[in-house]
């Protein structure tokens, strides 16, 4: 009896050791396989403004309320229109800053007079909730300078972005954290230092 128990014990010990070695092999091979592909670079989520259709799902699908997505204006693309389709509701009674004339449901677009006939439009990110109404109007009737971007001061960088999963046009993708914005600002990409660097257009 005693001998049999010892036998079983040593056999169990042997199996345990063998199993340990067998399991260590994949554990070591996974980093070896991925060594070439593992980047110390961190990835973040960003919207490709040229794919975005401003469907409005960014507003409702983000894990944050209000969404980490905000509207931005690419000033170098903006026409500074007097009649801004992103700012003014279609069929507005008067073309002024009256709340009933504005398209934005939360009044996040601020209009400032520059010179005749130009107006500057800036977005108050505190108010913007990424409904995309102005983006759609600007794309359809204007220069398309208004576009949605994920603001990385707010984004919690989920492993799987909830908006990316539901995005109907697959516009949200992983980008290196060093170049976290895909601004429409005439192919300018914003680097980590905050300085705008002009990228050579590849087309």
């Amino acid at each position: 009896m005693e001998k049999r128990e010892n036998n079983i014990k040593s056999r169990r010990e042997f199996f345990r050791k063998a199993g340990r070695i067998t399991l260590a092999v994949p554990l070591l091979s996974i980093p070896a396989l991925l060594a070439k592909k593992a980047y110390s670079e961190v990835y973040v989520w960003q919207i490709d403004p040229y794919k975005c259709t401003a469907c409005g799902l960014c507003k409702t699908s983000c894990v944050l309320t209000p969404s980490a997505v905000k509207c931005t204006n690419a000033y170098e693309m903006c026409g500074y229109c007097d009649f801004c389709p992103g700012f003014l509701r279609q069929g507005a009674r008067a073309y002024d800053t009256g709340a009933e004339n504005q398209l934005c449901p939360v009044g996040a677009i601020k209009r400032k007079f520059v010179e005749e006939p130009y107006f500057e439009y800036t977005i108050d990110e505190e108010l913007c909730d990424a409904c995309g109404k102005c983006v759609q109007a600007c794309s359809d009737f204007g220069n398309g300078s208004l576009h949605l971007q994920i603001m990385h001061g707010l984004c919690v960088n989920c492993n799987q972005c909830r908006i990316a999963r539901v995005c109907p046009s697959d516009a949200i993708k992983r980008v290196p954290a060093d170049v976290p914005y895909m601004s429409k600002d005439l192919n300018k990409s914003i680097t980590r230092k905050g300085a705008a660097q002009t990228k050579k257009t590849e087309s």
């Binding site: 259709t53 026409g79 500057e120 794309s139 707010l154």
Partner: protein, 427 residues
């Protein structure tokens, strides 16, 4: 003449509208850039940035530190209270401060996505979060589950009562994580979606907000967890399956008694998970050994189970693929084309506005389904073999001379420590 062709008029109009739409999209600079006469400069845009990448390495450092401390607490110090404090810290740091991302449970999907997709490069922190807890499991058991995992910690700290589950029911429910793991690896390997993250029940609680279905699911799990401790870990967690594999062969592991077991049976009611394997010394039963012939038959049965599940999954691959965004869009568009059921989803609208053709979409659909077909049999094989071995392990019975935890399922929570009357560790 007009009457003859008038039925084509709607199609013609739609074509014009669609083309017009693409024209609109192609020419977005409708109005020229203004030439300001005043000294106007473009406003400087204030972009915000994420925390710097080296913070990710701080997370990894914290993970290693927490795992080392828990290992020491579990194996050397044998302090339940210490493990509880580590749980509190992990819940606060990995849970509420880091908001549950990135976690080791979800990192399975990053690894699988990186292994099977050449265009995705895995962030180093995700790889390390996957590997380090498994390395620790190989050395000291499931110490990650004990107090470092935020999902485990929140359940550990809310498990007040101790209701034992019928072992047979436990065995059946315990098979769910294998299925979950298989599907999670499949869906991420084909580049479809991360289902573990999608159905993570506690992330809504960590972020203090989220879709109400997930919040309710998390709350229900926590309420269940008050009585049936750690329901997510036992009946859902896919990472727990991997942890179990590695812990089963661990070098050191939590022991119920610090010295020699006296078979006093005092620890029997201590474990809320029912993973304490009783000793055979008291019962004095002769354990019947399974003959070689039976072992061969069982082996063949397990293999058959694996193969049949592989076949089953190969055939259900198109069904599994329907959860993919691209496949469901293609199905919708095809239904509209063939049966005239109007495609109304956001994705279909976006597709109609885009320049992609239906042929491209259908080609992509076929490609995705083929990827599912290639991956699904392996999932089936894995499920068949691992579940078969699970059942086989319930049949065979090695005689034991002392009470010991089932290494695969024990989460090293340390609740059994205080039940053991042997307190002084004899060297």
């Amino acid at each position: 003449m007009i009457k003859k062709y008038s039925r084509y008029l709607p199609y013609f109009l739609i074509a014009v509208m669609l083309i017009w739409h693409s024209v609109l999209y192609a020419q977005q600079m409708r109005y020229p850039r203004p030439e300001f006469e005043t000294q106007y400069t473009y406003p400087e845009y204030q972009y915000n940035y994420q925390r710097a990448p080296y913070w990710e390495y701080l997370d990894v450092a914290v993970l290693i530190a927490a795992l080392s401390i828990t290992s020491w607490l579990v194996i050397k110090k044998r302090s339940r209270q210490g493990i509880m404090w580590v749980s509190v810290f992990s819940l606060a740091y990995f849970g509420f401060y880091r908001q549950g991302c990135i976690c080791a449970v979800g990192s399975i999907q990053n690894v699988s996505l990186a292994l099977f997709n050449s265009d995705y490069s895995i962030p180093l922190s995700a790889l390390l979060f996957f590997l380090i807890p498994l390395i620790f499991a190989l050395f000291s058991g499931r110490v990650f589950c004990a107090g470092v995992c935020p999902l485990g910690a929140i359940q550990e700290l809310t498990g007040f009562k101790k209701v034992k589950v019928n072992p047979k029911l436990e065995a059946v429910l315990g098979a769910i994580p294998y299925v979950y793991l298989g599907l999670a690896v499949l869906y991420s390997a084909v580049g479809s979606q991360f289902i573990i993250c999608r159905y993570d029940p506690f992330v809504g609680i960590f972020r203090l907000g989220g879709p109400y279905t997930i919040i309710i699911f998390g709350a229900l799990l926590l309420i269940t967890g008050i009585y049936i401790n750690r329901p997510y870990c036992r009946y859902l967690c896919p990472y727990g399956v991997l942890q179990g594999f590695f812990s089963r062969f661990s070098w050191k592991h939590l022991t119920i008694t610090p010295a020699e077991c006296r078979n006093c049976r005092l620890c029997e009611p201590s474990c809320p998970y029912g993973v304490i394997l009783p000793s055979d010394n008291l019962k004095n039963t002769e354990v019947t050994e399974i003959g070689r012939k039976m072992k061969l038959i069982y082996g063949a049965l397990i293999l058959m189970m694996g193969l049949s599940l592989a076949y089953f999954f190969y055939n259900t691959a198109p069904l599994l693929a329907r959860m993919d965004k691209r496949v469901s869009l293609a199905r919708e568009i095809r239904l509209e084309k063939e049966k005239g059921i109007k495609a109304v989803s956001e994705a279909a609208q976006a597709f109609n506005e885009s320049a992609r053709t239906e042929e491209e979409l259908f080609e992509e659909e076929v490609a995705v389904i083929n990827r599912f077909r290639a991956g699904a049999p392996w999932v089936g094989l894995f499920l068949g073999l691992s579940l078969g071995i699970r059942f086989y392990r319930r049949i065979i019975r090695h005689p034991r001379t002392e009470y010991e935890p089932d290494r695969g399922r024990c989460v090293s929570c340390g609740k059994c420590f205080e039940y053991c009357p042997v307190k002084i560790k004899t060297e």
